[in-house]
Symmetry: C2
Subunit: 356 residues, 2 copies
């Protein structure tokens, strides 16, 4: 690494991974974009014309795109790897990097999600990626994570965005923030990586709830004869969500104030404003059965659903171990029952906000 | 008070005060709606046909409307008074009740706002109302407050809403919650009334910020050539707002977790979704000067502006007394500079989220 210029490989050429190429190249770093086995068309297009078909815009011309077959060469001599896969690709990423890397390289992941350990413990995807790389015979890499409200297309459009980067050490997080920070990408370092990752993951689950509230308005026939909508219900679900995120973080010894900051309220807000999780919620709220709603969104990545299901597996064990208490999570319990059940019932509002 | 049935006077016949008549009458309580000097037309209409012109619907037929001249009679024998005025009417309310009441009656206010004491201390409007009633020669009444995301028209439409009622004692709050709670109006009691009221007030100020972010998109010409909007910026401002509310509450020894619950994130969310404060913000963000934006909204109550201005008076004293630190409130400082200045400048995003 010469001066402050770095060589960075982004592995996974989806929208979010690829968007990170903008601040990196704007800062003068060398960027190598490596496609997964699913990214063939994207890599072809970027190689041919710099145009990224899913971001619907050209990547900076200095970005070099690599097919997966060339990953060994692409990772040669890099200072940092950006893991650009979504939660479904983490295992693949671990195996791929584990087999390819011959020495430890710092990694930063943009993935949002969580896994559950055997005893029900919540496992951040950065920890999972570290483990998976080792299991595949790779070196012990330090995996950091980026979280916060950041729609990829906006970052690629150099629109103002604020995010956090979390690492095991503040020094590592500050180094990554320094590589990425521009006058439109405001990235603050933190060593509280568990709170960052779990907060960001849970908000995807809770967004389903706001979507259901929003869909219920449609089911009620829209505004009533006096023009009343149903924002109060949406707001109550939003607030119960941030409140439960706070509780889960606090119960794990993580800083619960993250729930009132970028990883909680902020990322929750942006996910409610657009995205797939809110759409699924709306379909459920509007009266479709869970099966019908899933059918309508077939083939679309729904990280919120995976997170709700993962929490559904974790909670019985966490209750038993007295890590969490069911009466503090009425909205999450409701979401689990909805996703695992037939359809969205009314919210248990009388059980909300009893923890004052 | 016979059994659980109460006689309740609502003083102030605006939309929010009047909406509270729905849960009250649904619970079988007797409701007397008293207009202020500004509510003459509303009272005439309700007396004639039960129709409330600003709510655009009929009040429950059992609600009796009274003109201000009859307030002594209307308050005779009541168990509870609902103060239905907005923040500009609190002083009037204090004088009116102070001159009228001959014995102490519990009061619950729906007013959102705050005042500043001589030393810069934040004063909740319930405390102010208690003081003003005494100053006007009235008895020592216990004033509680309702806060949380509740658009009046939705409550009047019996749409699902979750709010908190705060009193000096949990017993008092629980009593009021018991009078008001229905299967659509979910009201939880708390004795943490300062956190409730200050949280709810501040979110009106911070909503201006999200409005400015939203207006800036218009100024930029809307979505860019690849379809990117600017939700990341809105979300960052939203999160910085909840984060600063949390900080202000904590610095006053109030439970900072209210920032991640109904009075913070929830009420903030609903205010962003609709209302006047967000409109003013949008005008400012779109490039209008502060003076032009005010002119466009002349005659409209803008509680967010009053709160920003009040905080502008309070902060120098609170900094001096070391109650608050300016580096923790970059968004509030920005809003004060905008409202007191010529126009909205770019947000100081590099100063956001440094308190991790």
């Amino acid at each position: 690494m010469l001066g402050t210029m770095a060589i960075v490989a982004i592995v996974g050429a989806g929208v979010m991974g690829s968007a990170v190429a903008f601040p990196l190249t704007d800062n003068g770093h060398t960027v190598r974009l490596v496609g997964t086995h699913l990214d063939g068309e994207i890599i072809d297009s970027v190689q041919e014309s710099s145009f990224h078909p899913r971001l619907n815009r050209s990547l900076p011309s200095s970005v070099r795109a690599w097919r997966l077959e060339q990953i060994s060469k692409a990772l040669d001599g890099v200072d940092l790897i950006v893991s650009g896969v979504n939660s479904y690709g983490v295992e693949w990423q671990g195996q791929t990097l584990g087999k390819t890397l011959t020495k430890a390289v710092p990694i930063v992941a943009i993935t949002k999600g969580l896994e559950i350990d055997g005893d029900g413990s919540l496992l951040s995807l950065t920890t999972k990626l570290e483990r998976d790389i080792r299991s595949a015979g790779g070196p012990k890499c330090e995996v950091s994570g980026i979280g916060g409200p950041c729609i990829a297309g906006e970052l690629a459009g150099r629109r103002q965005s604020c995010v956090l980067v979390g690492s095991q050490s503040l020094e590592r997080a500050s180094w990554i923030a320094g590589l990425l920070r521009t006058d439109y990408y405001h990235i603050q370092p933190t060593e509280k990586i568990f709170a960052l990752e779990i907060g960001v993951a849970l908000k995807n689950a809770y967004t389903l709830g706001v979507g259901i509230a929003s869909g219920m308005l449609e089911r009620e026939g829209g505004e009533d004869e006096a023009g009343a909508l149903m924002f109060n219900l949406q707001a109550a679900v939003f607030a119960q969500g941030t409140s439960e995120i706070r509780y889960v973080l606090g119960a794990h010894g993580a800083p619960e104030h993250f729930a009132a900051s970028l990883p909680g309220a902020g990322d929750y807000y942006v996910t409610v404003m657009g995205g797939r999780n809110i759409k699924l919620g709306r379909l459920l709220g509007s009266g479709l059965s869970t099966a019908e709603a899933f059918r309508k969104l077939e083939g679309i990545t729904l990280e919120g659903v995976s997170i709700v299901r993962a929490m559904g597996r974790a909670l019985p064990k966490l209750y038993e171990r007295d890590v969490l208490k069911p009466e503090r999570l009425p909205l999450l319990e409701y979401l689990i029952a909805t996703i695992e059940g037939e359809r969205a019932e009314p919210f248990p509002l009388e059980r909300f906000f009893v923890d004052l």
